[in-house]
Each structure stands twice: as structure tokens, then as C-alpha cells.
Amino acid sequence: MSEDLVATHVLEFPGGYTRTTGPVIGRFLTELRDRRLVGVRTAGGRVLVPPLEYDPDTGEPVTEEYVEVGPAGTVQAWAWVGSPRPGHPLDRPFAWALISLDGADTALVHAVDAGSPKALRPGMRVRPRWRAATTGHITDIECFLPEVASLVAPVRAEYRVTPGRALTRFLEGVRDGRFVGGRCAGCAAVYVPYRESCPACGSVVEEEVEVADTGTVTTFAINNLPDPRAPEVPFVSAYVLLDGADTPMITLIGGVPAHEVRQGMRVHAVWVPPEERTLSMTNVKWFEPTGEPDADLDDSTGGAR
């Protein structure tokens, strides 16, 4: 069809239709203007909210007894509106919900400003948010809001952290491209990173020992959850027992597909260029395979023999 033969046509009674409320609906809207919610009682004793003039069960007129309900209520069911339209009560995603106001026997349809569909559940408690100026219209209630059931409690602790003497020695070594450990005078075990006391025998660890930057993967995990310290997923975090050390260190393995990493695999540290090094473990990009044959593993500790 030619574009010329399409036209927009608006049907809108100038000024808007009037609606005579009658006594029952009028009472509801009048109370609404005063920020109260009322229902009307039927001859059978039920409380209808919003009120109706005639009992839908019997067709009889309702009584003249008005009952204050709410303002809190319970969500029975809802439909989520992900893209509100111009005529909708809210300009952000919201739920149309059936709300059973406290004291009412029927449910009221209204908007619930819940933020996310995940926040809604049957039985959720809500309360009205009133407009600043009320006029006696259902939109005097802007929307319903969930009751306060939790709050956000920010906790922030900010520390100045220093590595201490022993770890400083280790980091100085790492800055210079070497791993510094300490040999326990009591039990002769070599701890890497360097530490000042032996966790096994309690002796002071005084003797500094440089260990190799090659070692053996004793065991590892293939991590499928992302981590800021790893370049990609999956990544391998492995215990590597450096040659000359008696305790393994946990490190990233790179330069090899995750599923080709093996227990017993021989690896070496990949250092960042000297000019990029700092007092930090980031000097070691990762460990990657040396290509040597796999080492035997010690069954008693999971360490390399």
C-alpha cells in the first residue's frame, strides 16, 4: 500500500470522560485521597478491596460497612514488566502484582517496585508509597514497595601492610631473580619462602639458602573459576617443590594447556624482564615445563623425592 494512504487518527474526548463513582467507589477514593485504604463488607461478611457496589458472589448490594485495611499487604502473584510503556505507573522495570491487603478478602492489582524479578516471591510483604499530592485516584498510590527485611552494612577495614623481615628478604631475592629460603638449624628443613622460625621444631631459622628456580609439580588444581591473578580460565594452580626446598609453593602454571599438566612435571620459573621487576611475586609470570622427564613422587607427603 502506498505510504500516502496511511494516516494516524486519535480518538480522545476533549478533557477526558467523567466517571461518576457512586457511593461505594467514591468512598474508597475519598479515603485514598486521605491516604487510607478501605474495603467494603458484603452481606456474607467478606471484605472487598477495592470495593464493588454489588457482591460478585450473590449480586446483592454490599453493606454500608467500610473496613480499614492495610496499608501493608502480601503479594500473591505477579507479572514482571521488563520494558515499561508510556502509560505505566513506573518508568523502570516493575511487577504488576495481586496484593492481598491485610484485612481484605480479595486482592488489589497494583505495581510493585521491586528492582528485580528475583526479588519477588509469593508471600512477599509490601507497603504503599503515596504520591506527594493525592487527588482521589488509584494512582494516589504510586506503587507498592517491599517491606524492609535487610539492609546493606558496609564494612571496610583499611590496613597498612608490611611484609616483615623474613618475607622482605624473600621479596628482595625475587626482585633479583632468585628464590631465598631458610634452613632450620634444628631439623635441617629448607623453607621457601624464607621464614625466621621453624613451624616443626620452633628453632630460629638463621641460615639463608638460595634454591633453584626449577622444581617439580607435586599436585595441582585446574581452576574453572576466574581469578584476577590468572590470565585466563581454565588456569592451573600448582604446588611446586623447588629443587633444594622442603616445602612446596603454590604458583600459576603457564605455557602448557591446563589438561597437559601432570604431577611430577618438571617446571621452571618464567621471570619478567629485569627492568620490570619489583619487590613482588608478580616478577614470576608463572612456571612452565622444562621438557625434562617427569620426576618420581614421594607417596608419604605428596612431595618430590
Binding site: A149, S150, A153, V155, V161, P163, L167, F170, L171, C184, C187, A189, V190, Y191, P193, P199, A200, T218, T219, F220, A221, I222, N223, N224, L225, D227, P228, R229, A230, P234, S237, A238, Y239, D246, T247, M249, I250, T251, L252, Q263, S280, M281, L297, D299, S300, T301, G302, G303
Partner: protein, 382 residues
């Protein structure tokens, strides 16, 4: 071991992802009131309160024992908090028991809890401290390499972990308090879930739960109702990094088991212990702890699991309640093990009752498998 002590009341909340309806205080009170009701007592009958929970970073509430004292009827009474990482629930029971065994108090209320929904445990356990050389992502990232080493050493087939994941969830279907209740749970379902920290699959891990557990412990002259008598208590710890440490079967666990067995006169745990509630947050820890606790020889634990020995109808049922794999309010998880052991010997475990259970083991571990707490309870006096 000191004076006789018995569990006379057990209370648990339903374990679930989020308890939106209660505060921390409301949560612990719910468990405490149920334990008191079980014992036929009120807060007025309690002499002291011991509270356990895992790191404060989980909820961001420092010194929760001070905040929770009112909710636990502790005003004017001694109240203290215990913290030994994941084993804390077990340690809490043992600290409470020691107060009775030492003759200091007649009735002690022990309570442990976690409301994991208030933050995220993996975040709280992965704090990226400056200068730290470690590359560990949460508890799963820490334990996965040790599981891999167990598999290598024992030669266990890959599906053993799956079997535990299914078995514990089947048991959970019989426990009204359990968090994960998965109708129709089977091997295919577990094996279809992704590897998080290979070799650990999603359904081989424990859930994050909100919940609390409480017990009333009493001296012999204060016993009411049906008691579970304490036959042995033990705690051990070891450094997380020490040369020659066996991370698959930590010495602290073996020593702790030997100590608690000696006190209870147990020489053959698999035959003499009727039911065990053991801290298994990742499925492979069942065969690993079967060996560490002496239920099986080294390298043989997985064979018991594979043969169904640890099932509810097996010859040595483990985690009849569904265990940590089915409910994990971390701080409470150890206390739940101890409480479930007590329920079994009291004959009050309901649908997951092991018939005729007379002696039961409660076990918890924490940190990098470096803190251990155990007790043995029995239906008759030690």
C-alpha cells in the same frame, strides 16, 4: 577425661540458602530454644553459654558472642566464643563439654551458626593480602590438589567422588533439616555438573547455607530425658606449612582419632562405631577420612565407599544425615556432626536413624585440614 557429661538436648534450624525471616540473633535463638525444649529446660536452667562460628569476615560481625548473648539468655552468665575455622562447631561442643567434665558447670548450652547469605565465603577466604605469594581460590581451590594427590596415591577410580555425592544427598532426603534435597539424585546428575576446581565438580561440593545448631550438655546429676553419653573428646592442630607435611592424611587427624578411640576403648573403629558423622565438604574427603580415621587401611578407603559400606544400610554408615555435602552453615557444620552423632545414639534421628546405634563418632576439620575435633558418644554410660 574428668566427670561424666551427656548431651540431653539437640536443636537445629532448617538449613537453607537464605533465612530472610530472621536476624542472626533470631537464627541462633531458634536452635537454642529447640535444644532446650528437647531437654525439657529453659534458659534459666543453663549455667554457661559457648558460641562457635567461622571467620568474622563471613558476616562482618566482630565479636558476635557479645551481640548474641541476649538472644541466648546469657545475661549474667559466662559466655565465650570459640573459633577454629571449619572445625569450630566441633571445638565448640568440646569446650562446652570440658566445662562440665571439669566440674565447673552443671549445664552448658553450646550454639554454633553461620548466615552465609550475608556475604560470600569464597570472597572471605580469598582476601588477596599484599606480598602474599599464594594462589588459592577459596576452599575448593585449596583442597582440589590434595584430592588429586589422594587419587594418584590410592589409584581410586574417578567415580568414587560421585558415589559419595549421590549417597549423602540420598541420605539428605531423609533429613527434614537438610539444605540440599535433590529428588532423583544420581550419578549422571552429578557427572553432568561442571568442574569448578578439577577434580572437584559442582555437585561434589557443599552448599552455602544459613543455619544454627545447639546442644544442651549436662553433668551426670543434671541429666534429664534421653542422654547421649560422651565417651571421648579430642582436638589436635598442625601448621599449614611444615616440611614433610602429609596433606592427604594429616598427622593431626590421625593423632586426634587415636586419642578419642583410646578414651572410648575403641580398637577397631569400623566394627565398633555404629555410625559416623564426618566433616566431608568435598565428596572425595570421605575415602580420605576413612583412611585418616582408621576405618580403612591406607589406600583402601575408596573401596569401602565403592562397596556401599558407608551407605545408610552399609556396615559402617557415614553421614546418615546427608552431611556437610547437604547442609553447610560453616560455623555450625561441625556442631551438626556432633549433634547428629548424639541423636543417633539417643535413637532420635528419625528417618535417617541407624537402627540400634549405640556408639557414634562426630568429627570436624578446618583451616587447611589443620584443625581437628572429634567426640565419641554412646547410649550407655562410659
Amino acid at each position: 577425661m574428668g566427670n561424666r557429661c551427656a548431651v540431653i538436648g539437640v536443636g537445629q534450624t532448617r538449613y537453607q540458602t537464605r533465612r530472610r525471616d530472621v536476624s542472626l540473633a533470631g537464627l541462633v535463638r531458634e536452635a537454642a530454644l529447640r535444644a532446650l525444649e528437647d531437654a525439657g529446660l529453659t534458659f534459666a536452667d543453663i549455667d554457661a553459654v559457648v558460641i562457635g562460628k567461622a571467620p568474622d569476615l563471613f558476616e562482618g560481625v566482630m565479636m558476635p558472642e557479645a551481640y548474641l548473648a541476649d538472644a541466648l539468655g546469657a545475661a549474667g552468665k559466662p559466655v565465650m566464643r570459640v573459633h577454629t575455622a571449619g572445625s569450630v562447631g566441633g571445638s565448640t561442643a568440646l569446650v562446652g563439654a570440658s566445662l562440665v567434665q571439669a566440674g565447673v558447670h552443671g549445664r552448658v548450652l553450646v550454639v554454633a551458626f553461620e548466615k552465609q547469605s550475608e556475604s560470600n565465603a569464597t570472597w572471605a577466604l580469598t582476601t588477596h593480602l599484599p606480598f602474599n605469594a599464594s594462589l588459592v581460590v577459596g576452599a575448593g581451590g585449596y583442597f582440589a590438589p590434595h584430592i588429586r594427590e589422594y587419587m594418584r596415591r590410592s589409584g581410586a577410580p574417578d567415580h568414587v567422588g560421585t558415589l559419595v555425592a549421590v549417597k549423602d544427598r540420598l541420605n539428605a532426603l531423609k533429613n527434614p533439616y537438610a539444605h540440599l534435597r535433590i529428588p532423583g539424585i544420581n550419578r549422571e546428575m552429578v557427572e553432568s555438573t561442571p568442574m569448578l576446581w578439577e577434580p572437584i565438580r559442582y555437585l561434589e561440593t557443599c552448599p552455602s547455607s544459613d543455619g544454627a545448631c545447639a546442644m544442651v550438655l549436662a553433668a551426670e546429676d543434671k541429666v534429664t530425658g534421653t542422654p547421649a553419653w560422651i565417651h571421648g573428646t579430642a582436638m589436635r592442630s598442625e601448621p599449614i606449612t611444615v616440611a614433610g607435611r602429609d596433606v592427604v592424611s594429616p598427622r593431626a587427624g590421625r593423632d586426634c582419632a587415636a586419642d578419642v578411640y583410646r578414651q572410648a576403648g575403641v580398637t577397631d573403629p569400623r566394627r565398633e562405631i555404629d555410625v559416623a558423622e564426618v566433616y566431608v565438604p568435598f565428596s572425595w574427603y570421605e575415602p580420605m577420612w576413612l583412611e585418616n580415621l582408621g576405618f580403612a587401611a591406607e589406600g583402601e578407603g575408596w573401596k569401602l565407599t565403592e562397596a556401599g559400606c558407608t551407605a545408610l544400610d552399609g556396615d559402617t554408615p557415614w553421614n546418615a544425615s546427608g552431611g556437610v555435602l547437604s547442609s553447610n552453615p560453616i560455623g555450625a557444620s561441625g556442631l551438626i556432626r556432633f549433634a547428629e552423632a548424639a541423636l543417633q545414639v539417643r535413637g532420635m534421628a528419625g528417618e535417617h536413624q541407624v537402627e540400634g546405634a549405640r556408639l557414634a563418632l562426630g568429627h570436624a576439620y578446618g583451616g587447611g585440614a589443620q584443625f581437628f575435633a572429634m567426640w565419641i558418644v554412646g547410649s550407655s554410660k562410659p
